[in-house]
Amino acid sequence: MSNKAIKSKAQIRAEKLLPGNQDFTSITNDIAGVPEQKKTPIQWWLLFGFALSLLAIFAGSVGFLIWEGTGIWGINNPIFWGWAIINFVWWVGIGHAGTLISAILHLFRQNWRNAINRFAETMTLFAVICALVFPGIHVGRIWVAYWFLPLPNQMGMWPNMRSPLIWDFFAVFTYFTVSLLFWYTGLIPDLATLRDRAKGFKKKVYGFFALGWRGGNRQWQHYELAYLVLAGISTPLVLSVHSVVSSDFATSVIPGWHTTIFPPYFVAGAIYSGFGMVMTLSIIARKVYNLGHIITVEHLDKMAQIMLLTGCMVGYAYSMEFFVAWYSGNPYESFAFVNRALGPYWWGYWAMIFCNVVVPQFFWFEKYRRHIPFLFITSILVNIGMWFERFVIVVITLHRDFMPGAWAMYNPTIWDVSIYLGTFGLFFTGFLLFLRFLPMVSIAEAKLVLPESNPHHGHDHE
């Protein structure tokens, strides 16, 4: 029971993840201080104004879409799905990191997640909202989109449960619901902290949402159990959501879609892009709010390692697709893949390969994993690459399938672009409001890595 031993384990870890002599008070002050700012920083207003204008573009474009019809997009026969579905899959993919970080890493007791989990969960929520917009608006008759729901009705009609779109709809909604509950449950102790520090109207609002949290021993016990159960429920969802999204493609007969590798490949890609987005956002936030001592280089390093892993997984999937296309001896399948790499949309394919396979290879080196400007650029490239992956899957596959007589090219219109950009408005408006009013790092969990939180603090048994 020597102090030296304790320092060599818990404290050294804590110093890495939370450098600078910090204690419970300083952490609370640093994190809760951001939403408690009396004066909103000018940078926030600038960003918020920008986000709101994008949101206005979104609203206008969707309005025009509903008024005119899906003809305003570049989709045609045979490319019946275009940017809307690409964006849907892209946003859902981004929404994967949140639950992975929160649930799976929680179950594995990876405490380094505590600095970024709130961030990632919030990002997940808004990303999934952005994703859910697209299945709603991309249909031809938006006003009957509720027919996706199994609502009893006088027509005696029921959704076709054999359709992957229905599985998809349920999978994404389940994911959204569980993510929201998980996010909110994690937020309760922090809301109580904010309530205790606030005055007047704010105190009432935070108090309402804090659900009477007092931080008693029993409450913490229940809370920990509930959190664990939610983590357990969320964990399979991380794997299921994108697996189900991938079955939109994998259960079809179209060469290039009809592949069994899709579910694991989609999940790896989703985690890859999700971590890319968490990286982008946390690098901005730690810079703007001077939180370098809470979201440390150590955290970024760990995220880069996961991106390396998942990047290699998608790289493996890309090469395996080609191998199987060749090995199957199916000429339609072979052409679908050769056409991706060498056809008229070769640039889309190679942009994907560069961003998703080549770029993460730098993360084998610690130097690059800890180089923040490099990480920032890389994290954006990752998401560009993942967008192109969906472009490759949706557009390049559809533009040349079985019947050459029906082959065509695809040209997106300004409305494809504006709705995509518009979802960034939706995303950032939500995210900035979160940054302004809620603690962006989990106060309670950030403290867990402090040696004082260790139940064995001062009683090391070694």
Partner: protein, 487 residues
């Protein structure tokens, strides 16, 4: 099995040489002078039908052009003058000249340019005004069919032409169409014998069962049918051995790609005309599409055509993927669309291997004048924006015939009715009827050894099948060097 000849090989070279020689003896043209041939338009004739939207939008045989006429030039001329599809050229005959876009056409003679009459009208009406280019200025009363003294100059501008099919699939990059590349070209070449099965008459006589062998060639389990290899529900929902079961047979040997079936279908089924811009966007609505493929020498290609509409798969890939069950099967084996249930996810169309589903991207019927509304077929619903549509096997006619038969207290008989495409086919290439009736015309056609299902290996079990194309060309008319074999 891989080298099925489509052209007779014997005595080809000598006779081809002779015919070329003969041609050169008859007509002597200067190096840079062309023969101009005036053709009545396949769509609008001499212009009298120019105000008819159906005819403006129907793809022309061979070129698949809509809403315009063009100067048809050979690939050699295009290469020599650096002409691309849609390139404006000026054609001059004596003191008269016209400007119009060029379209590179396989099989066009290299000393000849074809011009289509009936376009560029100025007092035609709502649709016909200003469509295409008037070629009459070059047509003189002393020589109304052709002119031998034409010269061309290439202008530095292009004109958008709306073709429903971009790709013609000639060997390598001999032929350049927009968005066309060598990779696709080679692929199309290798698919033509798969999709449009064809052989010479001699080969067919020697191997009468070659089509059947070809279809079975790659089947993993010979004891099971292709449908039993399908990943979709191998148990059909209904017992297809009972009652009338509808099916179609299209004889590719007879089909001339005239497009009459497509127009008949448009008229019967209230299919909207979408206009040139939408055709350019790839959104033409025709339920029957004529695919044109070219093989071999671009100057004298082998053309294969195939009319493709919904083939009514018994195990339809479109049906399983619809989230709201808007496309389902009927007990008589027809794949049906429920328009007012469709919400327009377009998933069915993506999963259709034949790409025969058409989507209403806009509300195409919103601005129909009342007179035109009155002209619609009252038996067929007008589709609203945002719903999918496709061939129904003219189910309104099936129903009408069934009701008549019931009223007359008898069973339906073969020949009680015809579907629109069948009725209008001048070559009688289309047979439709009850495939459970062994004596029906369609059953007889389907029993022929030339019968095959398109993309049979997918296990979709289509109700529309094709009869392979048997060519019996006069060797004197076919090209010299080309041996015509594909695999």
């Amino acid at each position: 099995m891989h080298d099925i000849p489509i052209i007779k090989k014997e005595k080809v070279k000598s006779s081809a040489k002779a015919s070329t020689k003969q041609l050169n003896n008859t007509i002597k043209l200067d190096e840079n002078k062309f023969e101009i041939v005036f053709n009545a338009s396949s769509s609008v004739y001499d212009g009298r039908f120019a105000n008819n939207g159906w005819l403006q939008e129907i793809p022309k045989p061979v070129t698949s052009l809509t809403w315009d006429n063009a100067a048809l030039v050979s690939l050699k001329v295009a290469k020599k003058f650096n002409i691309k599809n849609g390139q404006m050229i000026e054609i001059k005959v004596d003191n008269n000249s016209i400007k119009l876009p060029a379209w590179i056409t396989p099989g066009q003679n290299q000393k000849s340019i074809s011009l289509e009459l009936g376009y560029g009208r100025t007092f035609e009406g709502r649709l016909g005004n200003g469509v295409g280019f008037n070629v009459y200025p070059l047509r003189m009363s002393n020589n109304p069919s052709y002119s031998l003294n034409a010269s061309i100059s290439v202008l530095d501008e292009t004109y958008p032409l709306a073709s429903t099919q971009d790709h013609h699939g000639l060997e390598e990059d001999k032929y350049a169409a927009p968005g066309f590349d060598k990779l696709a070209n080679n692929e199309v070449q290798s698919r033509i014998p798969e999709l449009v099965k064809q052989s010479t008459l001699d080969y067919y006589k020697e191997n009468p069962d070659w089509v059947q062998k070809k279809v079975e060639e790659h089947k993993p389990d010979k004891k099971r049918s292709w449908a039993e290899h399908s990943m979709y529900n191998p148990e059909p929902e209904y017992d297809y051995s009972k009652g009338p079961q509808w099916g179609m047979s299209i004889d590719l040997t007879s089909c001339t790609s005239c497009n009459a079936c497509s127009i008949a279908c448009q008229s019967e089924n209230n299919i909207p005309v979408v206009g040139k811009q939408q055709v350019m966007n790839g959104r033409e609505m025709h339920w029957i599409r004529i695919d044109n493929y070219f093989a071999g020498d671009p100057d004298n290609p082998e053309m294969s055509t195939q009319s493709v509409a919904c083939v009514h798969c018994e195990l339809a890939p479109c049906e399983t993927v619809c989230p709201v069950a808007a496309t389902t099967h009927s007990s008589d084996g027809v794949n049906q669309m429920t328009y007012n249930r469709c919400l327009g996810t377009r998933y069915c169309a993506n999963n259709c291997p034949y790409k025969v589903r058409k989507f209403n991207f806009y509300n195409y019927t919103r601005d129909l004048p009342e007179v035109v509304q009155m002209a619609m077929n009252p038996d067929v619903s007008i589709r609203f924006r945002g719903v999918m549509e496709k061939c129904t096997y003219c189910y309104q006619r099936v129903s009408a015939a069934r009701i008549s038969a019931e009223n007359e207290n008898r069973e339906m008989q073969d020949g009680d009715f015809q579907v629109a495409c069948q009725q209008s086919c001048p070559a009688d290439a289309i047979k439709f009827g009850d495939i459970n009736d062994p004596n029906s015309a369609v059953s007889k056609a389907k029993r022929r050894n030339r019968d095959y299902a398109l993309l049979a290996h997918l296990g979709t079990a289509p109700r529309t099948t094709y009869l392979a194309k048997i060519r019996n060309q006069n060797p004197k008319l076919s090209s010299g060097a080309h041996n015509g074999s594909h695999h």
